[in-house]
Symmetry: C2
Subunit: 451 residues, 2 copies
């Protein structure tokens, strides 16, 4: 085999970077579980017609074909064809409907899984990537407290990550929809889709589209842009909205929901996490009906690193409707560029906290015994693969970032353990020695980039 | 959407079963990491020509096509097409070659990931399934100690699972190859492939194939079958092999390796795990060159639940060769049938150890404070979604298997916590109360089936 080359859009990590990713995933999972969210995993494939229901993603889906079937039958994709899921929301909706009789509602679930999109790879866009989603799904009804709870859980999860600071932008679809109806827009959904592109295309392009496609006049466009300019880290945004002098029942409802969401999350602010009511956030997808979220990371510019919101009909089977609220975090989108730039890594590439040296091949069984004693007390340990001179064995540990090398007792010597970072070497007992807690497992390293 | 139906071959678990799977995966990972094995994850897709190199799996590969590409271009699959990996060994070989300059050898890695095969679903055969692999890979050379180590790590991992007992059968390819050469077989690989099917097709069919396709006479076939009948939980098998009176350099070498492997693993035997030298085990795949493993579980009959061995050339790029030894555990193959039969499950379907009751909507913020205090000390906690009567809130906990319900202090009452299994209710302080350790997280339940 010649040396293989990477596949564009399919990022893959070296062991040290994977250790950092694993620490991030463990931390997310720990927070989700602390809040009682259960794990589910769905199959990777869904029927193609289900994946294409929302329409927007038809070019991005990876189709699955058995190799034999692909050779036998080259017809156009049929409805029974399978595709890989491109997010975790479509599979959740299907899972909820399929298993509704066996699930307890409200269902609070997290799901950390890979997704696939056949789009052109570029910064922040991958063909295979890991998402971490939390959702609360009700049966026919779901309290507005669920919106607050999802905000709190994701905020706590983000604030615990040893990563660059995150801002969670929050808005409410009822608020903006009511506002657009209040100024006389006849197709508020078209306005929402256009405003959603504001950051990307700028106000002039938005003005042109709103005029040409949503049929708004200049005064109406002015008010839409004024609304989108409102942003505040506290409930003061409400006064600014009211000052625009628009009134509509839906606007009032959305305003009060957003005030409540922002108020309820005030205590979550930290150095690593801030929450801002930002009225330009629309989230183009049609299924959002209330609170909407979009997360940004200092290092990632305008790229959204998490997104979500309230959907009053995540799924429906005719008899029952399943409302939900959730946020989806782009783990690969966050980590892959930071890892590639060396901003994020781990302090070692293996789980081992201790390397047990082997003096000669005859001493290997003694070294294995020491390793067993340390492991029995939860200390990750490996035995040196070769009985070469100790200097080489210490280098073996050093290259992997293993902090301790253990020299087993021999006739006339005691057990000793060396911290190879400081050079300190002390007598130690395999049945009692314990490293400082921080040394036990690999830790994520985060080096701030020069700005 | 109508109620969706399951996809055959793509198993999916309810939250309780997923909790059991997660506990199993956590346990495997903990053992692998205790032994210093690092985690890697490879991309799910590999170039089709790489996947088809071994030839045997061509009908089972799932081809990936971007939906747009599939419609535009219906030609036969080209070499540049991508397929989903069907195991974790082919991707490991590619990963080692691609990243060899950045990896430290010997590389000790574990990999827990999904794989896909387009085969006809049946008991033990899935189209999407999770594998847990460990391998040690050297650069140009790899000590025989690696075989012993891989045996020890997987044995320890298996012995810790709260699952039915496992037997790990071990053999050595040099031993059997040398034996077949020693009796005058000209194509020992053909004999190995035939003997590998012994359990499935029985001795008569094996005799016919060995005569017709490998050109052996009846006396030669007798000796092959006599070798395959040898099985022992200790090194006594060596005497039985020697008693067959065959001699060959490779046979001697394999015999001494197998004796060493069996001797080195003697201390690992437990109620849950036994190791047996079984000379009928061949593992058809051509790349095994020394030790071979095959695992069986009492509940799974002849179905192999783990398999692996020594391959002297996992990968090669012309300049360097990467020998390895590894075992692959079929997590889905083990769990899916046990879960479907109700043999394996979890004692609760959510991570929550405590449900904090809510007396009235005005008391919700107090309940949230209690939950925060408990979570701050690592106790998974959720707040009741609705301020309905306490009996209903207790049922909410009961249905999910949450063991404790917390009643926050109100004017005139103290904080109290109720163990809903025993009915015991006691005063408690949210900043100090702690459940018994065993109640903190969901546990796997294993109910033995009547035999």
């Amino acid at each position: 085999m010649n040396r293989p080359t990477p596949l564009s859009g399919f990022p893959e990590f070296l062991p040290g970077a994977r250790a950092a990713e694993l620490a991030v995933l463990d931390s997310l999972r720990a927070t989700f579980e602390l809040h009682g969210f259960c794990s589910i995993e769905t199959r990777s494939a869904e029927p193609l017609d289900q994946l294409l229901r929302k329409g927007e993603t038809s070019q991005e889906v990876y189709l699955l074909r058995r190799l034999q079937a692909a050779t036998d039958d080259l017809g156009a994709p049929a409805g029974s064809d399978l595709g890989l899921h491109f997010d975790l929301t479509v599979p959740l909706a299907r899972y909820v409907l399929e298993h509704s009789g066996a699930l307890h509602f409200p269902l609070r679930r997290y799901q950390i899984q890979r997704c696939w999109r056949g789009e052109r790879p570029q910064e922040g866009r991958y063909r295979e990537f890991t998402q971490a989603d939390i959702d609360i799904v009700g049966h026919d009804e779901l309290s507005k407290d669920a919106d607050v709870e999802v905000t709190e859980v994701m905020a706590e999860a983000l604030s615990r990550l040893p990563l660059p600071p995150v801002t969670l932008l929050v808005n409410n679809r009822k608020l903006i929809q009511g506002f657009y109806l209040g100024i006389g827009a006849t197709d508020p959904a078209a306005v929402i889709r256009t405003i959603d592109k504001l950051t990307k295309v700028g106000p002039d392009a938005v003005r042109r589209t709103l005029t040409a496609e949503a049929g708004l006049d200049d005064a109406q466009v002015d008010r839409c842009l004024a609304l989108a300019a409102i942003s505040a880290p506290d409930p003061s945004f409400a006064q600014q909205v009211l000052a625009l002098g628009v009134s509509h029942r839906l606007l009032d409802e959305g305003l009060s929901e957003l005030v409540r969401a922002v108020e309820s999350a005030m205590h979550l602010r930290s150095e690593r996490f801030s929450l801002v009511a930002d009225l330009s956030i629309a989230r183009g997808l049609d299924y959002y009906t209330g609170t909407v979220f979009e997360g940004r990371m200092a290092t990632h510019g305008d790229l959204s690193i998490c997104a979500g919101g309230r959907y009053d009909a995540l799924a429906t089977d005719g008899r029952s409707t399943y409302p939900g609220v959730g946020i989806s975090l782009g783990v690969t989108r966050i980590l892959a560029p930071l890892i590639a730039r060396g901003v994020v890594g781990a302090d070692r590439s293996v789980p081992s906290c201790v390397l047990v040296a082997v003096a000669t091949d005859d001493h290997r069984s003694g070294s294995r015994e020491v390793a067993r004693a340390l492991r029995a007390r939860g200390i990750p340990t490996e035995v040196a693969p070769d009985a070469v001179r100790f200097g080489k064995q210490i280098r073996h540990a050093d290259r992997r970032g293993i902090p301790y090398v253990w020299f087993p007792a021999t006739a006339g010597t005691t057990h000793q353990v060396k911290d190879i970072r400081s050079g300190d070497q002390v007598d130690a007992d395999p049945d009692h020695w314990r490293p400082p807690h921080d040394d036990l497992h690999p830790r994520v390293t985060y080096r701030e980039e020069p700005t």
